[in-house]
């Protein structure tokens, strides 16, 4: 969001409406420099280049007397262009503000003065209220136009009458009481003088006699005025239209602004790498504020993105990494060796379940512990593979032989690993579940591998989630 169109709006409005505003009080004849018209414009311009600013600082930078500045700012406050905040604060409190200023307005040099007293001082701060300025300017234009148009068309206006003798005023609602029987004029109730219709404030002239010529002249004048207004305020209206759909820069209250600014500064000091340089580079002219909300959003984004990335990565790796391993085992397996392999893969699953998931996640994580586990796992797989190859050879031998020898061989191998199997059955419920599933499902040996894979994936995902929540 850009603040520049709004600044332009403020500048245009300042030149249109506050150009001839003078701060000279009624009782200040001793000011020798004459009129200081246009000072209001200077102040507004200066405010467009700042956010919350301490009025003393502003006065110093504008080389104005602080009282003078305060008078102008009070005017703007009444005109709803500026929000002001007054608070009592110690030097410490002033420092908070100075720090906030240092965080946002990098060329604000006069920020820190020697205000090291413990005493409480009332400091005033001021800031442009862009949302309100937009509304105020629009309303002002609307009122101007309406006033002239109403007067032009004499719409819904109650004519006023004034007695030139005693100055008593009446309006058309009193007409019934004022009408006299002698002539066709209204007469004052008090002095019986002839009333005259009051002339309009905008086109002041002697309409007293109600002359048609005068009325026509007045209309011309009003029309002229309306046209002039349209022409002269055209840039302002265009700027209003341009700004209409833009998000309005909002500084919030002084406290909120300070909190944000200091938070932003901390962020800048903390991690100078990530996304803060943009804010710094934009400075005080470009983007108004390092919004805390924005940073938060960015953080959330990065978190989300990371999570998604990791997930997809792990998913893809689980797909990519696993197949070779799976295929290797699957190719090694034959029907005759089903029992052995079953047992082996069973033990494999029980001991390796956590390890498997770790293996997959090792792409994402780099815990030392996990590495160790990986190493162990690799060694374990290597051993397993070796053993399987041995078994395969044995199986080939068996196949070459008749059907009976394999059985003996199988029993041998059973004896080798059989103890383990029994222990496993006693130990884990998981194991039983796992065995049931294959029975219901596939009949070939490849199912074991598939199941292994599935379980590994599941466990891997779970661990992923936990890790990221921790992060």
């Amino acid at each position: 969001m850009s603040i520049e169109p709004f600044n332009r709006l403020v500048k245009l409005a300042a030149r249109a409406f506050y150009d001839d505003v003078t701060t000279k009080g009624d009782n200040q004849p001793k000011m020798g420099r004459g009129d200081n018209r246009g000072i209001a414009v200077v102040v507004l311009d200066a405010l467009t280049r700042r956010q919350w600013v301490r009025e003393e600082d502003l006065a110093k930078e504008l080389k104005l007397h602080s009282k003078q500045l305060r008078r102008i700012l009070r005017l703007f406050e009444e005109e709803k262009l500026v929000t002001r905040d007054h608070r009592k604060e110690t030097a410490k409190g002033a420092k908070i503000y100075s720090a906030a200023v240092a965080a946002t307005v990098d060329n604000q040099v006069g920020g820190k003065e020697g205000e090291e007293k413990i005493k409480l001082h009332t400091h005033s701060y001021c800031c442009l209220d862009y949302a309100q300025i937009y509304d105020v300017v629009r309303y002002r234009l609307h009122r101007m136009k309406k006033k002239i148009k109403d007067e032009l068309e004499d719409k819904n206006t109650v004519q006023e009458y004034v007695c030139p003798g005693c100055g008593k005023r009446y309006n058309a609602l009193d007409a019934l009481r004022l009408v006299s029987l002698e002539d066709e004029y209204f007469h004052c109730e008090r002095c019986n003088g002839e009333l005259v219709a009051e002339s309009d404030k905008l086109a002041a002239q002697d309409v007293g006699d109600g002359d048609d010529n005068a009325r026509r002249r007045r209309r011309e004048k009003l029309k002229d005025m309306l046209q002039k207004m349209e022409v002269q305020l055209k840039p302002l209206m265009e700027q209003l239209n341009r700004v209409k759909d833009m998000p309005i820069p909002e500084f919030g209250s002084l406290q909120a602004w300070e909190a944000r600014a200091s938070a932003a500064r901390r962020a800048v000091n903390g991690d100078s790498g990530s996304n803060d340089p943009s804010k710094i580079s934009q400075g005080y002219g470009g983007t108004p504020m390092p919004f805390l909300g924005e940073t938060k959003v960015e953080v959330a984004f990065s978190g989300l993105d990371g999570k998604e990335d990791v997930k997809s990565e792990s998913a893809s790796t689980s797909l990519k990494v696993l197949p070779p391993w799976m295929i290797k085992q699957g190719m090694n397996l034959t029907k005759e060796q089903r029992g052995e392999v079953k047992q082996e893969s069973k033990t494999d699953v029980i001991s390796a379940q956590p390890d498997l998931s770790d293996d997959k996640k090792s792409t994402v994580e780099n815990d030392d512990k996990k590495n160790i586990q990986d190493e162990y796992l690799k060694a374990y797989y290597a051993a397993l593979y070796k053993k399987q190859q041995e078994l395969e050879e044995a199986a080939k031998r068996q196949q070459e032989l008749s059907d009976i020898p394999p059985a003996t061989n199988l029993s041998d191998s059973n004896r080798q690993v059989g103890m383990k199997v029994k222990r496993d059955d006693n130990e884990g419920d998981d194991d039983i579940d796992w065995e049931e599933a294959p029975m219901a499902g596939n009949t070939t040996e490849s199912y074991k591998v598939n199941d292994l894979n599935v379980e590994a994936e599941e466990s891997g995902d779970e661990e992923d989630d936990v890790d990221w929540e921790e992060g």
């Binding site: 068309e153 004499d154 719409k155 819904n156 206006t157 109650v158 004519q159 009458y161 058309a172 609602l173 007409a175 019934l176 009408v179 066709e184 004029y185 209204f186 219709a197 109600g210 048609d212 009325r215 026509r216 209309r219």
Partner: protein, 176 residues
């Protein structure tokens, strides 16, 4: 705008009206008292259309008068800002003209009369267009819009305009 509403009033009846015609006397007195009056709240009471009920009378100590609380239905007329009315012109002068819509007096000041109408003084003061085709004088009928009302406790006064589309003279007595 007209409304048909129910109002209530405490009627004081003189003892001489007591008798079998008490009720008729009460009603006729009510009509005499109420019709044509104006209250700021309800407007002008145009006519009583019926009696809702008559409460129990209460004899006043000392006087012998009896007070009856009477509820009655009536038609009231109350002008509103922005309302369009048809009115008869009663008086024309340099400052504008006065018109009546029933009981309501309306003043139309000269700057709320179209600019092409000019005041002509004389025996019969009037506002006339430059080509003389339209003339507003006493007893003309005009359609006007109320742009302001002053509502007092006992009277309502309005100011109107004829400077708008479809407003102005609707029936000129001189041509009729």
């Amino acid at each position: 705008m007209f409304f048909h509403i129910v109002l209530e009033r405490n009627m004081q009846l003189h003892p001489r009206h007591f008798g079998r015609n008490l009720r008729e006397n009460l009603v006729s007195k009510l009509m005499k008292d109420v019709e044509g009056t104006c209250s700021g709240r309800h407007g002008f009471v145009v006519a009583i259309t019926g009696i809702e009920n008559v409460g129990k009378g209460l004899i006043r100590d000392g006087t012998g008068f009896v007070t009856f609380p009477v509820k009655y239905q009536c038609v009231v007329f109350r002008p509103f800002k922005g309302e369009i009315l048809e009115a008869a012109v009663t008086m024309v002068n340099k400052m504008g003209f006065f018109a009546e819509a029933g009981p309501v007096q309306i003043f139309v000041s000269n700057h709320l009369i179209p600019d092409d109408m000019e005041f002509q003084s004389g025996d019969m003061p009037n506002y006339t267009t430059s080509d003389g085709s339209v003339k507003i004088q006493k007893d003309s009928e005009v359609r006007l819009k109320i742009i302001g009302t002053r509502v007092d406790a006992t009277e309502i006064f309005c100011i109107g305009t004829i400077k708008d589309d479809f407003l102005g003279v609707i029936n000129d007595p001189t041509t009729a």
